[in-house]
């Protein structure tokens, strides 16, 4: 009986260990750019999107990997599976342990990530943000895709074109705290007040980067408010959701839909007429630029003003000592949507 008790224990330990080893070893192969040397090896750039699993951030990952290969640096690109700041904060702490040379993050909440980023800074890691900023004192540089004003203005202009410059609008955003979305909303409201006083935003609803939720929100809102002139979907998830909702309700001709979207997702809606035009920038280029900036931070040769040479993007402008600008926003229509493969 004593011997069998030991046998039982050994088998138990062995089984559990086998499980862990299998799971871990399967997973280790997944990150091709993760080397084993850690300390004195190639520079490591740790990049975090708001969440993984949506086409927009998959596109930026492609650009980031391209830049990492060009520069010969190691790239770790990972994020939480939901757009939650608390999960990002935890991952940043773990990135610190991974001895990254630079950490750059697209924030779900500017203040929630500040303590973790500050700790990274204290550990000697170059800190940066991209796509959505963290608190200014928590990072050294911010890679912005386009100025908030330019994005807000373009969105409103595109909508005004389709609605004759008046009406009440629904905005479906991602989360009510994401700093870039908050900034765009502010720019949109200001632009409406100054250029199109007959346009106003009636309601802002968070779609939580969930397609079905954005769809349901739009549908229900349009049913409850049939006089709505148009819907802004200001994230790459809420725009297709809103467009699908308008299509299913058969309101393509009555309700204008525009916002920020990824061409590959939006093709069916542009073809069906639910969406005439929408706005974006190139997320592949954004990821590419973010890695270049992080690399320059590590090497210590990021300029404080003027322009910065970023690989195949050429000269990129610095808006301020701590802000790098990608480009003016792009407007996609039926005519040019076929030219892009993201």
């Amino acid at each position: 009986m004593y011997r069998s008790a030991w046998g039982v224990k050994i088998v138990r330990v062995a089984l559990l260990m086998a499980l862990v080893l299998v799971a871990a070893s399967c997973g280790v192969g997944q990150q091709p750019s993760q080397g084993g040397s850690g300390g004195g090896g190639p520079k490591k750039i740790c990049m975090m999107p708001k969440l993984v699993g949506i086409p927009y951030f998959n596109a930026s990952e492609k650009g980031a990997e391209e830049a990492a290969k060009d520069l010969g640096v190691e790239l770790v690109y990972d994020g939480p599976t939901e757009a939650k700041a608390a999960l990002q904060s935890q991952m940043i702490e773990q990135y610190i342990q991974q001895q990254c040379g630079a950490i750059t993050v697209a924030a779900n909440d500017p203040d929630a990530l500040a303590p973790a980023m500050k700790k990274a800074d204290e550990a000697g890691i170059a800190t940066g943000a991209w796509d959505a900023d963290v608190a200014k004192d928590a990072r050294d540089v911010f890679v912005n895709q386009a100025t908030f004003d330019a994005i807000g203005k373009e969105l409103v202009d595109v909508m005004a074109e389709q609605t004759g410059g008046k009406g009440e609008f629904l905005v479906v955003t991602g989360s009510l705290t994401a700093p870039n979305q908050v900034a765009w909303l502010k720019a949109m409201r200001e632009h409406m007040k100054s250029e199109y006083p007959d346009m106003s935003i009636a309601s802002v609803e968070p779609g939580e980067e969930d397609l079905q939720l954005s769809l349901d929100i739009t549908k229900n809102y349009l049913r409850a408010n049939p006089d709505t002139a148009g819907v802004f979907g200001i994230t790459s998830v809420s725009l297709p959701g809103a467009a699908e909702a308008v299509e299913q309700e058969g309101l393509e001709d009555d309700v204008a839909v525009t916002g920020l979207g990824v061409p590959s997702d939006m093709k069916p809606y542009v073809n069906s007429g639910a969406v005439d035009k929408f706005v974006l920038w190139n997320p592949v280029d954004l990821g590419y630029l973010a890695v270049h900036v992080a690399n320059a931070q590590i090497e210590g040769n990021l300029p404080k003003s003027g322009t910065f040479k970023a690989g195949r993007l050429g000269k990129v402008e610095l808006l301020a000592e701590d802000e790098v600008l990608l480009c003016p926003p792009l407007v996609f229509t039926e005519k040019n949507i076929g030219e892009y493969d993201f």
Binding site: G27, V28, G39, T81, A85, A86, Q94, Q97, A116
Partner: protein, 319 residues
Amino acid sequence: MSAATAVLRRFKFSREVVLLGVLIVLMFVMSLLSPLFFTVGNLLNTSRFFVEVGLMALGMTLIIITGGIDLSVGSNVALVSVAVGFTYAAGLPLPLAIVFGLVVGLAAGLFNGLFITLLDLHPLVVTLGTFALFQGLAYGLSNAQAVSDFPDWFAYFGQAYFLNVVPGQLFIFILAVVVVWLILSRTRFGRYVYAIGNNEEAAHFSGVPVRRVKLALYSGIGLLVGMAAVIYTSRVYTARGDSGLGLELDVISAVVLGGASIYGGSGTIGGTVLGVLIIATLRNGLVLAGVPSTWQVFVLGVLLLVAVFLNEFFRRREE
């Protein structure tokens, strides 16, 4: 009964030795997968994460020993976090806001307990309902916003270091472990807990105040949740309605991994603590080894299944 309890005692002891062995082997494996794992800085950093799960796991152990379960702990964390942050933002002095948060956690647990005991309802469905209710309240009351401008001293709970190296909350955790262990193994209350788990009807007829014990357990975990939530909010320095989501999986996994039978009647604090350590080590090690977060979700789910399966399989063989 003494021969049986002697066997029982050796049975419990041997399980903990096995878990310790698992933990050591696991740490060895993790350090192979990443040389960064076995540094003092990393190990202590990991301990920050597991204090929150650990505090709740202590309370969950007692509940699972009685054959119950509490699925609402994660959502309760969110509720307390919002309670602390938003009352503070509304003008309440922060110390009072923290106390209010602890009270909210306790009250939420008490709410669970009352529903379960007064109405004789299954804890599974009650806590499933409160899982949604607390989360919804946290999200709705905070209006999907967040509170971040706490005074500097608030970071003390979640981010402080003693002697520049040891995380502050580790002491709170060790204290809680000792207290709960004493309660479970050295007091009459602890024996009531085991009695209820072994056979609730028999315990009732032997004079065990079943209802009051259960009420105390669910309220108790509510208080522990409150503490964990305050530490958590201090660590991320933000009060949000989506704090603590998914923590119930880690908590229940830790308790089950630690050897507690999900049917009730057995389980120890030592086992739970080891279970918490194993899960924290696994999570941390996987990240350091470069395993993407998408894999971690999968591994944890599989781990829970395997752990329970092994527990029950070997338990039946030993009977």
